[in-house]
């Protein structure tokens, strides 16, 4: 892939979070302390373009905003890897998914643009990217099998005894906040995508931006969605809220830990210069 320069420079890995809480935890894990002047991006102190890792957050929830933000990241840096890190609501009862687990999406189901007609839900398809096979095949599978490689980065105490598990599966990405088992639309959506492990509101936007950036052979971004489970969407609304309060910070830390372990593995690949720098930094040499 050509070493493309965006309007703010170059970057190997770009991380996108949604909430302030998510961003602060990810920022701490990666040590992205310095704001790149006049931009919403943060990088390792003293770094200049080409950056090894940059991170920013969406100004708000929803796929519409994540679509725009991911597009801006691509325009500004043309990163090789674009990773969404944050939380999601788990689908309780599917694949033993539990609070604090990390779901790395291998497929994104978009829950929008449906036409309801005569009792049927007719999907209206929109093209978008799916998560990177390259990353799943070469790195996520390894982390799934060897969880100590990422669990060691978890920086926040677990609310209850136990260990988090990395689960690979599909996630639902929609525009309506879910978290009430009684909600009819939510039941329809979760029932329709009967294998999905989690639900969130931004992956589709990033996937669509990634797809839209594929108009030239010079650019082949790999994107991934890593979500820590902080509540269950199919629990009652009050229980859901309690779980979210207790588990969010830990769930973000777990997802961020998978992201940082992935970055270590990417840095160990052979080797344009940025990878060596990334490797040095993660190894504590700079």
């Amino acid at each position: 892939m050509a070493d493309l320069e965006g309007k703010k420079g170059r970057a190997a890995i770009a991380i996108l979070t949604i909430t302030i809480e998510e961003f602060e935890i990810v920022q701490g894990l990666f040590g992205l302390e310095e704001n790149i002047a006049h931009t919403p991006y943060f990088a390792k102190r003293g770094r200049k373009s080409p950056f090894d890792v940059v991170a920013r957050r969406c100004t708000s929830q929803t796929n519409a905003v994540s679509h725009r933000t991911a597009g801006e990241i691509i325009e500004d840096f043309f990163p090789e890897f674009l990773i969404v890190v944050g939380t999601a609501g788990g689908c309780q009862g599917r694949d033993n998914v539990a609070l604090g687990d990390v779901v790395v999406a291998d497929y994104i189901e978009y829950a929008g643009y449906w036409k309801f007609k005569a009792g049927q839900m007719l999907e209206r398809k929109v093209p978008f990217d799916q998560p990177s096979l390259y990353l799943h095949q070469n790195y996520i599978e390894r982390l799934r099998v060897q969880p100590h490689e990422w669990r060691r980065h978890i920086s926040i105490a677990r609310p209850e005894p136990g260990d988090p598990t990395l689960r690979v599966g599909s996630i639902i990405s929609g525009d309506i906040l879910m978290g009430d088992a009684e909600n009819e639309f939510q039941q329809q959506v979760i029932g329709h995508f009967d294998k999905a492990l989690a639900v969130e509101m931004e992956a589709y936007g990033v996937a669509r931006a990634t797809f839209e950036s594929r108009t030239a052979v010079h650019y082949n971004p790999q994107f991934l969605v890593i979500r820590g489970v902080c509540d269950y969407v199919n629990a009652d609304a009050a229980g859901n809220q309690q779980d979210r309060v207790r588990w969010t910070r830990y769930a973000v830390s777990c997802a961020g830990s998978v992201a940082i372990a992935l970055s270590e593995l990417l840095a160990a690949r052979s080797k344009p210069s940025w990878r060596k720098r990334l490797s040095d930094w993660i190894g504590g040499k700079s």
Partner: protein, 653 residues
């Protein structure tokens, strides 16, 4: 990889050979980051147009704004040549060649890359596509120069901007400059555009050229009005060539048709009729055959011979400058008051997106009385058209009374609950730019506005009555006489009454009477005015009446009820929001057949932050979802995405 395929080389060659103004005028550009600043002439910096490219790498997108005849195309030509010198690859795209068939093709395009490819293949000097540009080495900067966004309808113009925005986002080292008339656009990523206003030539610059080419005496003999006209490069160029000037732009253009094209006044009328017919398809390009059929063989031949009419090999024709076409269209409309109606105004202004024709029309009307009547007719159709009629120093051409009325209508809108109405009203006051307009922009509230308007003089009886109505105290009790103004045929009185009632206290009986009017009155305009009033009074009964109004047979009543239901949802602090938005959701299938209602619904969802109930975005979502389903197509999907994005940006999720 070698890149110089024939088409790329041809584009480069054409750029280098493109003609420029001779002599070259020194043009200045005012730079701003927001439309608000452009309208208020609050520029970050003013510099020479030769520096246009210097800052393009920062955001990659420049919107070059300016009046018709302001030399935007000439600036793009210069930029293109400079870009070649900088070893970049510029591609000019001329939208003036857009014809009716292009609208049909455009509708079939689904994403930005198809749209950009279409623009390049259709309107670049030599047919090239995205694929050709992609074969350039990745390090070679590409520069899209899109000339004449105003040559297409407002909606298509917005879609072109969106496509350019996406293309620049996802294409390494690619930039764009788009030229447009001085109108506000809804930019998807406004922070990524820089706005560059082409300023009128300075008097010093005009004097320099006139003195040098026409003579010192000629400069001294020019009136203030004539000197002002010459601040437009198009008219200065004509004056330097032909040494003649008239006291209005319209007269100048007419003279050109008589003297350079050799047409008689009667022939110009026929040509004007043909020009108007061709505007019906909202394009400046047309078939020479259909034009000739109306304009006549001989006048058409003369226009072709003089170069005023350019005809392509496939029989597509266009005027060498759109101002000539605009003049002819305005001449046709202004000639007969029977043509001063909605249908003619829509055609004349490309559906309300280009108001140069309005300015030219006013210049052709003789008396103040005629001009007042014309602006009233415009007001009946589109308040913003009436506002534009008064812009650029034209207020003197109207009676002080009519001028005050138009000022006042916009001043009141500055406090509208709907953000976009308030912004548009402020924009218009900025372009009217009179002492009165400036004081109204500086007003701190509606009370101030009423006081300012109360001080305006005017002898006409109708004006005294209007002023008493307009300035009646805020919060006073309405009487039955007040209500009777709603059914007045005179649109100024009718709409002023509608606005004034919104500031008054209405009893329950009066509101019942209004609800009955909304249900039963024979005039759609009256039902529309009533809907406007009821939106201000957020009660369950009014909301129910407005919800019934969504099924009114008249589109303007649906439009008014849609606006007012959103207003009720907001003004009830969210309490009536579920009912209002469920009603809109239930009517989505019916409303979706009226694009102007759907567009307005999207617009009015943006209410002033202080009026938006908590969780406004979530309150609105069910109706958005219903409209999405009712208008399932790619374009609509993009529009709703954008609406949702704007809602989340403004109010959070």
């Amino acid at each position: 990889m070698p890149v110089q395929c024939d088409s790329l080389a041809a584009v480069r060659q054409m750029v280098m050979e493109a003609p420029e103004f001779d002599p070259e005028f020194s043009v200045e550009i005012g730079w701003a980051r927001t439309y608000q600043n452009v309208f208020a002439h609050e520029f970050e910096v003013v510099n020479h147009a030769s520096g246009l490219l210097d800052s393009i790498a920062e955001t990659g997108r420049i919107l070059l704004l300016g009046a018709g005849g302001g030399a935007k195309t000439a600036q793009l030509t210069r930029i293109a040549k400079k870009s070649v010198d900088r070893r970049e690859f510029p591609v000019p795209v001329f939208l003036k060649n857009w014809s009716s068939k292009h609208y049909d093709l455009w509708k079939t395009l689904r994403n930005y890359s198809q749209k950009i490819d279409f623009l390049l293949m259709s309107f670049a000097p030599s047919a090239i596509g995205i694929g050709d540009l992609e074969r350039l080495p990745p390090g070679t900067p590409r520069l899209l120069l899109i000339d004449g966004l105003n040559e297409v309808t407002e909606n298509v113009g917005n879609e072109v901007l969106d496509a350019v925005d996406d293309y620049i986002r996802y294409s390494p080292r690619t930039w764009a400059v788009v030229s447009d008339r001085f109108v506000r656009r809804q930019l998807r990523t406004p922070e990524r555009w820089r706005l560059a206003l082409v300023l009128p030539l300075s008097e010093r610059e005009v004097a320099r050229h006139v003195k040098k080419i026409v003579g010192e005496r000629a400069w001294e003999n020019l009136s203030e009005t004539e000197r002002n006209i010459l601040r437009s490069p198009y008219f200065l160029d004509g004056f330097l060539k032909y040494k003649e000037i008239r006291n209005t732009k319209a007269a100048e253009l007419e003279q050109f048709l008589i003297e350079r094209d050799g047409l008689t006044s009667q022939e110009i009328d026929e040509v004007a009729r043909a020009a108007f017919q061709e505007y019906r398809s909202h394009t400046r390009s047309f078939s020479i055959g259909s034009f000739e059929e109306i304009a006549g063989v001989e006048p058409t031949r003369r226009l072709r011979t003089s170069g005023s009419l350019a005809v392509e090999a496939d029989g597509t024709a266009h005027f060498d400058h759109h101002l000539k076409h605009d003049y002819l269209v305005s001449r046709y409309v202004v000639k007969s008051p029977q043509r001063w109606d909605r249908a003619h105004f829509r055609t004349m202004t490309f559906n309300g997106s280009s108001f140069d024709t309005v300015a030219l029309a006013i210049e052709q009307l003789g008396s103040r009385e005629e001009k007042d009547l014309f602006v009233r007719a415009l007001y009946d159709w589109n308040l913003y058209a009436a506002g534009n009629a008064l812009a650029a120093g034209r207020t003197q051409q109207f009676s002080p009374e009519m001028s005050t009325v138009v000022h006042a209508m916009f001043a009141e809108r500055r406090w509208d609950i709907f953000i976009k109405s308030a912004i548009a009203a402020t924009d218009i006051l900025h372009v009217i730019d009179t002492t009165l307009a400036r004081s109204l922009v500086a007003a701190n509230g509606l009370e101030d506005v009423l006081q300012i308007i109360a001080r305006q003089a005017g002898d006409a009886n109708w004006f005294r009555r209007w002023k008493a109505l307009y300035t009646s105290p805020i919060g006073s009790e309405a009487d039955d006489l007040d209500l009777s103004g709603l059914v007045e045929e005179d649109s100024v009185v009718g709409w002023t009454t509608s606005n004034v009632l919104r500031r008054k206290i209405l009893t329950e009986e009066q509101q019942i009477s209004l609800r009955n009017h909304l249900n039963e009155h024979g005039s759609a305009i009256v039902r529309w005015r009533v809907a406007h009033v009821l939106g201000r009074f957020a009660t369950q009964q009014n909301a129910e009446a407005l919800a019934r109004g969504l099924n009114d047979p008249a589109p303007e009543v649906k439009y008014g009820c849609t606006r007012s239901l959103v207003e009720v949802a907001a003004r009830s602090h969210g309490e009536l929001a579920p009912f209002a938005f469920e009603s809109l959701a239930r009517a989505a299938d019916v409303l979706a057949r009226h694009p102007e209602v759907v567009d307005e619904f999207r617009r009015v969802l943006m209410v002033q932050a202080e009026d938006a109930p908590p969780k406004w975005t979530r309150l609105v979502l069910p109706s958005i979802s219903a409209f999405q389903q009712a208008t399932v197509n790619y374009k609509s999907r993009q529009d709703w995405d954008r609406t949702l994005e704007e809602l989340v940006d403004r109010y959070g999720y």
